[in-house]
Point group: C2
Chain length 351, copies 2
DNA sequence: TTGCTTTAGTAATACGTATAACTATGCGCA
DNA sequence: TGCGCATAGTTATACGTATTACTAAAGCAA
């Protein structure tokens, strides 16, 4: 009877029944001080103007009411969201969870959360991601774009939102706060192609996707093939998915003429799709057909897929570190840099 | 020389050089109207008090300045973040990306983004998640908790944040806005155990994890084993990871007495770890040892792992739908419900 | 007593948006 | 001429926090 009436004040955007969370004002009221005092005590480790007694009283009241700072209000006031966005094609591709984990591992201790935005590798969704970032939902972005180029990203950097791109090659330094992390995709693909050739393969096909990192990988493959006097053989499908890989392999198997003895998937999921299709067609791997991939997703090891290892976790961690540094005072002024990490050829049973 | 001076107003939390995004006030100024008029025009489809001429002028100016609504400000004002949180043990476990995708697929059209929070299945991080949610960072949550129970979640529901739990069994309806989605884990495990017994196995071990859904699965397994006059054989390791599965299998292989002829992993990653270890030990699957899993993660199909299919995408989608409905006006009043989806036994080559 | 310093705070304001409440102008009509 | 009403907006306020600038009271020295 006594306490029930006071405690239903707002009922605004929320439902009527939901009691609002206590605010600094509530604490101030209960502790007999001003809201400003509460804010000071809650945020500063040392408050010369608030004596220990008042300080503890405020803290106790805050504790008692179960106070939690209102994140939106903080964001508004401080123009900081304490959130990183991770813009990727598809979280379902096993390459990305590892990247996300790397990101989180560095971001969390620095106080940042990670928001995932899937683009499906489609241009319009990539554009939507930019739009969405311009609403101030994140302080920084780690992104893989298949379609957008630097000019479209510049708008973010110019508004003070640092971007770290997950790239497939070195990018020249630029004046804006756009950095990149990458492994040398062309060289990695070249090395894998050399391995295949060294193993005696002459007819080597590459399954690639239309957009994305596939392009640099195809370049490395094509160069080495031509250098070796062999002709590149590209099968292109739409996405980085098992279905695409399977479809591409079907097309290879349907060929009338001589079939390739080795297939290089521009990504592990493509290679896996191809692998399954080959097996279902009664081919043995690597005897009838060798298969190589790119990324070294966790299953690759289980399936014995020979592939190029990209250190996803480290790439994510490095990207996060870069963002954290960018968001330090003055961090936006330094020119955009491109960080290279090393790939590794993982030789397994599929080649 | 002329335009450069005006355009550096705030330089607050941001770096000095970063030009701030245009606000409604800027539009109002440029269009010669009040900020309120701008807000009206931008938000309402029909504005009786603003004539078409002014309306288009405002819209044009907004367009021209590249205006994007400030998300934090909106959040503060409307007490809505338009974000769902997805609290899970580990995005790296292949079960979860599919769930996230299901979530996103329903959330995005309804205007909600998805934020990922990994707990690593640790109690203190689960508690941190609650804390974090109480800051008003999300309007609703889809969560898998290994440790927290209903009472700890009640605080969220009471503050108007609906929760959908990813459960392993039916939960009784409660008064709060805490729903759950689940497949009957005990029954699914029971059915898988029956299958193993039907295939002639008598010595069947289960690899389980200490916390999480493993418990219900163990229950189903144990019940069927005892019903069949067989004794359950549990190997417990810490996490749902391949390493844990591999370790457990090693322990099984080290046994002096008779080894089990079948191993049931409480999750696919556990089963996969076990599978690899068994293969490395020279055992052939399923002849020397049969292996079954739980979840039906994408690789399970590739590796021929017999497992229990959980419809992760549908679970995610259903969870999101539930949240969206909860966030409709009055949606928080209805009692918490438990939604069951159907599992499926995927018979493959590993059993 | 005056003036200065320290103590212990408070008041005011701004962040950008949404919205309820209000108002000034002009027109038609009695 | 005066009244009511539609038109075309405006003003004011609130959301919760952080921060700057201010102040009242006490204590102390000169």
């Amino acid at each position: 009877m006594t306490t029930s009436t006071t405690r239903t004040k707002r009922g605004k955007g929320r439902d009527k029944a939901a009691p609002s969370r206590p605010t600094q004002k509530d604490i101030a009221l209960a502790a007999g001080v001003s809201q400003a005092a509460v804010s000071l005590v809650l945020n500063k480790a040392e408050t010369p103007s608030v004596p220990p007694a008042t300080r503890t009283r405020i803290l106790e009241v805050a504790q008692g009411l179960g106070y939690r700072p209102n994140h939106p209000a903080r964001m508004l006031r401080s123009a900081r969201t304490m959130t990183f966005a991770c813009v990727i094609p598809d979280i379902t591709n096993p390459f990305y969870p590892g990247l996300v984990r790397g990101l989180q591992t560095v971001a969390a201790p620095a106080g940042y959360d990670v928001l995932i935005f899937d683009t499906d590798g489609r241009p319009e969704r990539e554009a939507r991601a930019i739009d969405w970032l311009l609403q101030g939902r994140a302080d920084g972005v780690v992104a893989t774009f298949f379609h957008l180029r630097a000019p479209q990203l510049a708008v973010l950097a110019r508004k003070g939102i640092p971007v770290v791109r997950l790239e497939s090659q070195h990018k020249p330094d630029g004046p804006l706060a756009i950095d990149s992390v990458y492994i040398d995709n062309a060289e990695a693909a070249a090395e894998m192609t050399r391995l295949l050739i060294a193993r005696g393969h002459r007819r080597i096909a590459m399954i690639q996707a239309e957009f994305g990192p596939s392009q640099r990988r195809a370049l490395g493959y094509g160069t080495v093939m031509r250098e070796a006097g062999l002709s590149p053989d590209f099968i292109t499908d739409s996405a980085y998915s098992e279905e695409s890989g399977a479809r591409a392999m079907e097309r290879l198997l349907e060929r009338k003429g001589e079939r390739p003895t080795a297939v290089f998937g521009a990504s592990d999921v493509l290679a896996l799709g191809a692998m399954v299709t080959a097996r279902n067609a009664g081919l043995s791997i690597p005897d009838d057909i060798a298969i190589a991939g790119f990324d070294d997703i966790p299953v690759a090891k289980l399936l014995g897929l020979t592939t190029v290892r990209q250190p996803e976790f480290d790439l994510g961690a490095l990207a996060a570190e870069t963002l954290v540094r960018r968001l330090l005072p003055g961090g936006l002024e330094t020119p955009g840099r491109s960080h290279e990490l090393k790939f590794e050829i993982m030789k397994r049973s599929s080649v």
